[in-house]
Every structure is written in structure tokens, then in C-alpha cells.
């Protein structure tokens, strides 16, 4: 059973192979609605918006908001400051971490309800468990940054989380540390496979912000692998990324 809804401004897809009713999936969508109502900076009545307007202090925040903020702070220190939820105007925007956190919680909920073969995909960040309906490992295609309809790699995360950060925008020039005189192309996308989707998401976000250095940052993290694509159509992968590659 599979269903897609647009929540938090992105497509959220849930497929549960062993579901006998749509109820577990419906509860996942309800959970994403709750998360959006609480964390969306696009909603004036969300908890984060009320916090940013000073209508609620830190002491009055919900346990979930405190959990997400603590995760954001941890990620900031683990990524040498590249991950930061504070905007230039001093208000907070935790959206860089909320998505991965919400997917992880949704997957935990499905597991707790006895589902063993499923995935939760929110805007291209994915937590899968078990097998697909053909009894195979879930097959995840990596989208081409150049042509949205193209797949450039197929991987089997096998229970790990997978997340992609990217932009069509060309940013500042980056230099190759191995060849300082050679200008490198900008990074277009960074896909990270990690212990769960929250871990993959927060380090994909931080690693993408590092530009060309991001792939080396992921290489330095135990338990994480990554695939980075630049504007020249070249991909760089971490040492053991190949272990996940189907084709």
C-alpha cells in the first residue's frame, strides 16, 4: 500500500508492504501535519513562529521543540559551525533538521505498530526497513541534478537512512586542495547514507554547506557514506559508498 500527500511544502510518500489497512499510513501523515503545525516558519500560528515573535520563552517550549533545538546545537558543533539554525535576523529556523527528525519518528511509529517492510520518504529523504513487495532490498534512485527525470545511481540503503542536499545555484568558487591552481566546479548535490535518516539528513545539510570539502567531511565520519555531484557532471564518492550501489 502506498500513498503520497503534500505536507510541509513537499511530497511525503509512505509505502507499507505488510499493511492490512491504510491506518498506519494515515497516522504517519497525521504526524507530519502535527510537525508542520509546530515547526513551520511559514505559519504565523506555529510554535516556532510564536517563539520567534517572543510570545513564548524557552522555558515554555514543548518537549519536541526542545529536542529538535538540542539536536540542532549538537549538529552545529559536530559540523564545525556549518549547520546553524539561526538566521541573520536572529530568529530561529529549525527546518534544516525537522524533516529528518520527523521521518525517523514516523518510521519508529510504523515499527512499533508491527510494520516490518516499508519506507517513509519526505522530499527525497528516506527511511526504509525490510524489503520491497518483490522481497528485494528497497531500490533508491539518486536523482540527476541536471535532468529531474533521470536517475544517475541506484542504491540499496538496507535499513540505513538516505538524504540528499542540493541546489541548482552556482555559489562561490571552490579550490581543489590537491591542485590549488585548478579551479573546481561547484557542488550541485550531496547524497548521504547514514545510521538513520536523521543522521543522514543533518550531515547531508552540513556537508553540502561545506562545498567541495563536504565529501571529505563525510569520509571522516564513521558509519557514513556519500555521493557528491558537481556542475561539470563529475561525481565523487566516499571509500565504501560502493557497498550500497546496485547499479
Amino acid at each position: 500500500m502506498r500513498e503520497t500527500r503534500i505536507i510541509m511544502g513537499m511530497p511525503v510518500t509512505v509505502e507499507v508492504v505488510d499493511a492490512t489497512s491504510p491506518d498506519p499510513m494515515t497516522r504517519v501523515f497525521q504526524w507530519f501535519e502535527v510537525v508542520d503545525a509546530r515547526f513551520s516558519t511559514y505559519r504565523a500560528d506555529s510554535e516556532i513562529s510564536r517563539f520567534n515573535r517572543g510570545e513564548v520563552g524557552e522555558a515554555g517550549l514543548s518537549a519536541e521543540m526542545k529536542e529538535v533545538c538540542a539536536l540542532a546545537r549538537a549538529t552545529e558543533s559536530e559540523s564545525q559551525g556549518f549547520f546553524n539554525i539561526l538566521r541573520t535576523d536572529g530568529t530561529a529556523d529549525p527546518s534544516g533538521i525537522v524533516k529528518g527528525w520527523a521521518i525517523k519518528k514516523a518510521a519508529e511509529q510504523l515499527s512499533a505498530e508491527g510494520c516490518q517492510n516499508f519506507y517513509v520518504d519526505a522530499g527525497g529523504d528516506i527511511q526504509s526497513r525490510g524489503k520491497n513487495e518483490d522481497g528485494e532490498d528497497w531500490r533508491v534512485g539518486l536523482r540527476s541534478p541536471f535532468h529531474l527525470s533521470d536517475i544517475i545511481k541506484v542504491v540499496a540503503p538496507r535499513g540505513q537512512g538516505i538524504a540528499t542536499s542540493g541546489s541548482y545555484i552556482r555559489g562561490a568558487h571552490i579550490w581543489n586542495p590537491h591542485a590549488p591552481r585548478e579551479e573546481l566546479a561547484d557542488v550541485l548535490s550531496l547524497t548521504v547514507i547514514g545510521p538513520d535518516v536523521l543522521e543522514a539528513d543533518r550531515f547531508a545539510t552540513a556537508g553540502f554547506a561545506m562545498g567541495a570539502d563536504g565529501i571529505y567531511f563525510i569520509e571522516s565520519l564513521p558509519g557514513f557514506e556519500a555521493y557528491q555531484v558537481n556542475t561539470r557532471g563529475m561525481a565523487t564518492q566516499t571509500t565504501n559508498f560502493q557497498d550500497y550501489v546496485i547499479s
Binding site: G9, G124, I126, P177, T191
Partner: protein, 120 residues
């Protein structure tokens, strides 16, 4: 289609939200129109569209998130050589797709503003 192609990567699934806005809107006047500035995760996003012959022919980002810093505290002497390959499209069967949607809301909001201006 050029608009979607150029913005496509940032928009991801949200492109579907954008299409009806462009098509359902009345006549677009020729010219250049700036959208509002919106917060994306890495910083502000503002998009400018160009309309010609009643169609959107270009979309440029006037402001975009760029938090890259000049130095990273990674020991460059210790960097390993990582495998590189040329990106190639393939036709393999997949269950689902991972791709970027990071700043989609900000882009959609700014493009929506610009389209409204073009229709006025």
C-alpha cells in the same frame, strides 16, 4: 519549461505546485519581475523572472543562500583520494528517489510573487 528546468533542482516535487500558478494566472505582461525575499535554510532567496511573448523565458536568483566559508578545519594533508566518475543517466528500476528539495518553499514563494507582478 525553461523556468522549471532552471529552477527544477531546488524545487523538486514543489515544481508541481508552481506549474498551476503560472498556467492558471491570466495574461503575463512582458518584462522583468522580482519576487519577494524569503528565508531558505542557508539564507535569503529572491528570484527574478523574465517574461517575453506572455511566457516566462528566464528565472534568475538575485539572492541565494551561500554559507560557504573560505577555510574548513579539515586536515588537508590527510585527505584521501576518493573515486570519481562521470555522471551518467541510467534506466534501472527503482522503488523511490532521493533528491534535493532543500529550499523549495522559498523559491516557490518568490517565483509566485514575481508571477503575480507579471500578471498585474
Amino acid at each position: 519549461m525553461k523556468l522549471l528546468k532552471r529552477l527544477g533542482l531546488g524545487l523538486g516535487g514543489a515544481a508541481a505546485v508552481l506549474v498551476p500558478q503560472a498556467e492558471a494566472g491570466a495574461v503575463l505582461h512582458d518584462g522583468t519581475f522580482d519576487g519577494g525575499t524569503y528565508d531558505a535554510y542557508f539564507g535569503p532567496v529572491q528570484v527574478e523572472i523574465t517574461v517575453s511573448g506572455g511566457k516566462v523565458v528566464d528565472a534568475q536568483a538575485l539572492q541565494y543562500p551561500d554559507h560557504r566559508r573560505t577555510s574548513v578545519a579539515i586536515n588537508r594533508q590527510a585527505l584521501p583520494y576518493l573515486k570519481q566518475e562521470v555522471v551518467q543517466a541510467q534506466t534501472a528500476r527503482v522503488n523511490l528517489i532521493s533528491g534535493a528539495t532543500l529550499t523549495s518553499r522559498a523559491y516557490v514563494a518568490s517565483v509566485g510573487d514575481a508571477l503575480k507582478k507579471a500578471a498585474q
